[in-house]
């Protein structure tokens, strides 16, 4: 099984992510509605496979300023998770949570609030994955970067880069007063792919 590459397992993994996207986004929508105390709608999430060279363009260019929350994952599987939205969307969410106290410049309070929102959203996806696979998954405390899309996405691209030349992500759209495009990238370590796929009965080892 050491011969597995991202290309060879991507079809199965793609289906897993689609299912995960649906359940995860559903959970996230419910959790966000209760956190932000407002009505939140969601659309069917898309799973996208992108070549490295197209990674930046999807999000409005490599220099588009984004807020990205990164978590390490431990337990039965190991790997990492990145959740990102455009900076103005992050500010919108933070304002919803903090009310008038929030400022546009992303100080300590705003960073902390966005980490909490990211925790809830990534937690929703991880719960979905844990439920689907019956695996135990612990996320770390997130770290936050407000920076260019290209720079933030270099992190998952490099982690995927060990296995291939593509990046797989879940694009979800939820809306409260405005449309919120969020991108969710899960990068299991190589042996964790096998665990996820075999836990789902897709891959027989």
């Amino acid at each position: 099984m050491s011969e597995l590459t991202l290309e060879s397992i991507s079809t199965q993994y793609f289906d897993v992510l689609k299912e995960l996207g649906n359940i995860g986004a559903g959970n996230a929508t419910t959790a966000l509605a209760s956190l932000l105390q407002c009505k939140v709608d969601m659309k069917v999430p898309q799973v996208l496979t992108l070549d490295f060279k197209d990674v930046g363009t999807l999000l409005g260019g490599e220099e588009q300023v984004m807020a990205g929350a990164y978590l390490a994952v431990e337990g039965d599987i190991t790997g990492s998770i990145l959740f990102l939205v455009k900076k103005d969307i992050a500010i919108h969410l933070v304002k919803k949570l903090m009310g008038d106290m929030a400022s546009e410049d992303f100080g300590e309070m705003e960073r902390s609030a966005f980490k909490e929102i990211s925790n809830i959203i990534t937690g929703s996806y991880l719960n979905a994955l844990a439920t689907l696979t019956n695996l135990t998954i612990y996320p770390s405390i997130p770290d936050l970067a407000i920076d260019m899309a290209g720079a933030i996405l270099s992190v998952p691209a490099i982690e995927f880069g060990i296995m291939g030349d593509k990046i797989i992500l879940i694009q979800s759209q939820i809306s409260d007063d405005i449309d919120i495009d969020g991108y969710f990238i899960m990068i299991p370590d190589m042996e964790s792919y096998e665990k996820i796929l075999s836990a789902l009965g897709i891959l027989n080892i």
Binding site: M148, I152, S154, I162
Partner: protein, 159 residues
């Protein structure tokens, strides 16, 4: 004209054109430059070592293969090997979490691997802006030899 270099990509250009890569994070943007012919090339390296990874089809992705390949490209374009100097930027650590992850520190490993490769090939590194925790857009102008670095919320800087 501005020649664009994507992630895990490389290209060459000559004065008066310039060469750019957008939003470098942990990746390294290395420039090889011949001041006498004003010919240069840039590689956007993602990972330090192709040998530990089985899927090394694209030489530009790795420091150990990318630097050498870029050298071939600039020489083919007309640069003189003995005149070449190098400048580099990038290699940031974008995130840090409680678990000590070698993947998150790939930036510094990329920088070290590029330096080692330059040493092996006998090319002098004359300036660098590497490490820290922010993204960089980099543009090289072979006419002046200036390497311009832009970052969010920071003054542009030339190395």
């Amino acid at each position: 004209m501005e020649v664009k270099v994507g992630m895990a990509d490389m290209n060459v250009c000559a004065s008066p054109d310039s060469i750019i890569t957008l939003g470098l994070g942990s990746c390294v943007g290395l420039v090889l430059y011949d001041p006498t012919t004003k010919i240069c090339g840039m590689v956007h390296v993602m990972l330090p070592d192709s040998k530990t990874i089985g899927v090394g089809t694209n030489p530009a992705k790795f420091a150990d293969t990318g630097v050498e390949e870029l050298l071939k490209m600039v020489v083919k374009k007309g640069a003189k090997k003995e005149k070449l100097v190098a400048k580099m930027a990038g290699g940031a650590q974008m995130f840090s979490v409680n678990k000590d992850s070698p993947m998150l520190r790939v930036g510094e490993r990329n920088v070290a691997a590029v330096k080692e490769e330059l040493k092996k090939l006998g090319i002098r590194l004359i300036s660098e802006d590497t490490g820290e925790n922010f993204g960089r857009t980099v543009i090289f102008y072979p006419e002046s030899g200036e390497y311009l670095i832009r970052a969010i919320g920071k003054e542009p800087k030339t190395i």
